[in-house]
């Protein structure tokens, strides 16, 4: 299984833990990752609120590069994945727009076709790598732990353009968690937004929105929160101290990228998975997980 790996701005400029854990785990599951040369921002969010054509162009540009490589396009970020999906959807429905976008791409000698196969990392793990391969690779099953799944808005909505999981009852990330030997579990706040995109305009509100979910996850007795979206992670992990400071109440909720947990479960070392970059209080849990 060979994929063109698209990191996107957030992952490649700050969420190193995510990228590291992906790069470390995928080969163990016979997934070959090929870097994409010359890629740029997917257009979301910078252009979505500013200029639609600029958004479509930015997005199509990266798709065009993947098409040039002749490989399926693998994204780690919900934002990028939706951005690409909507572009394929919009340009698919409007030949005029497609022509217009290709005119713009021609300058760089690129051509957007729209036939690319797009896949999100959790979709890849769930639908293509699959349960057998993952469970077979386990050396350190996460028995006795209960994790709350955080799929993130843009990976499940809007369903009408086609998303990797069900908009109201997403299950794939939960199943991925259970395949590691851990427990998942439905919780009412699961589909709620992390609020990260308000960072630009209303930072305090982000902390409030995110805090509500973290407190709920705590209240419902989970050992940690697991996501495959860098935006969600940024808020729940990186900003957890700020949330605690504002909310006053203790939260102390370990937050992981799924690929980090996956790495631990198949016997990789914390350093290989960039877990030392997680800002949430994960240490105690790591000791309990133990293993390599």
């Amino acid at each position: 299984m060979k994929y063109a790996l698209y990191l996107g701005c957030t992952v490649q400029t700050e969420q190193y833990g995510y990228e590291a854990s992906v790069r470390a785990t995928m080969p163990r599951l016979d997934v070959e990752l090929v870097g994409m040369v010359g890629v740029s921002c997917c257009g979301f969010p910078p252009f979505s609120s500013v200029n639609e054509l600029a958004w479509l162009y930015s997005s199509a540009r990266n798709i065009a590069i993947a098409e040039e490589m002749g490989l399926p396009l693998l994204t780690l970020c919900n934002g990028c994945h939706l951005s690409f999906t909507e572009t394929i959807h919009k340009l698919g429905n409007s030949p005029e727009l497609k022509v217009k976008v290709n005119e713009k791409l021609a300058g760089e000698g690129l051509r957007y076709d729209g036939k690319v196969k797009l896949v999100h990392i959790f979709e890849l793990l769930h639908d293509e790598v699959g349960k057998d391969k993952i469970t077979a690779a386990l050396t350190n099953p996460l028995k006795g732990f209960r994790f709350a799944a955080q799929p993130g808005c843009h990976s499940i909505r809007p369903s009408r353009v086609g998303r990797p999981d069900n908009p109201e009852n997403p299950k794939k990330l939960d199943e991925l968690i259970t395949w590691l030997g851990a427990e998942a579990g439905d919780y009412p706040e699961k589909n709620d937004c992390c609020g990260s995109s308000l960072a630009v305009s209303a930072g305090k509100v982000v902390l409030d929105i995110a805090g509500e979910k973290l407190k709920a996850v705590k209240r419902r007795g989970f050992d940690g929160l697991v996501t495959t979206c860098p935006f969600c992670f940024k808020v729940y992990d990186n900003k957890q101290r700020a949330i605690q400071a504002m909310g006053g109440k203790e939260i102390d909720m370990p937050v992981f990228y799924y690929t980090q947990l996956l790495g631990l479960a198949i016997g990789l070392k914390q350093e290989e998975l960039g877990i030392d970059l997680n800002q949430s209080p994960v240490d105690e849990l790591l000791i309990r997980i133990g293993g390599a």
């Binding site: 990191l7 701005c9 490649q12 400029t13 700050e14 190193y16 990228e19 590291a20 790069r23 870097g35 994409m36 040369v37 010359g38 890629v39 740029s40 921002c41 969010p45 910078p46 252009f47 979505s48 609120s49 500013v50 200029n51 639609e52 054509l53 600029a54 162009y57 930015s58 540009r61 713009k104 300058g107 760089e108 808005c153 843009h154 909505r157 809007p158 369903s159 908009p167 109201e168 589909n191 709620d192 937004c193 609020g195 990260s196 995109s197 308000l198 960072a199 630009v200 305009s201 209303a202 509100v205 409030d208 929105i209 960039g274 030392d276 970059l277 997680n278 800002q279 994960v282 240490d283």
Partner: protein
Amino acid sequence: MTQRKPKMMDKVNAETCDQCGKCPSSCPVTVRIEGFNPRQIIAKVALGKEAELMKSQVLWTCTSCLKCKERCPEEISPYDVILALRRIAINLELPHPEGYDESVKAVVETGVVQQPQLVRTRNKERKDRKSMGLPPAEKPRDMTMYTKTLRGILEEDEL
């Protein structure tokens, strides 16, 4: 009463709204920010009050969680209506959070919203891509052409 609708407001079919209230009750912001209510936004668009909306600050407080778009029984997307209004507002150079201009500038000039950061570990060490053993970050092959193209697009009148 009704003033000229910008072209990009054409396809939002706000007028078919039944005012059911499903969007605000799904919205994480309405409960937190006074005055932000997707149902009212749609109502005002239907009544031709776009101008009033574009001046309002709340226009910029949507989290893009997409629950309104997902659940609207009339297939109206308050989220897309809000994005459309934002684009017009920015196009008309009405007041908006400067964060948008910054990231647009960054992307246009460097291809990414920000340069690779030095990030801290839990025990306060600083790490970059290199020290993480990660390959250098990517950027457009022909940066000048890329920038030129994007500038060109941004200068076109979308309205």
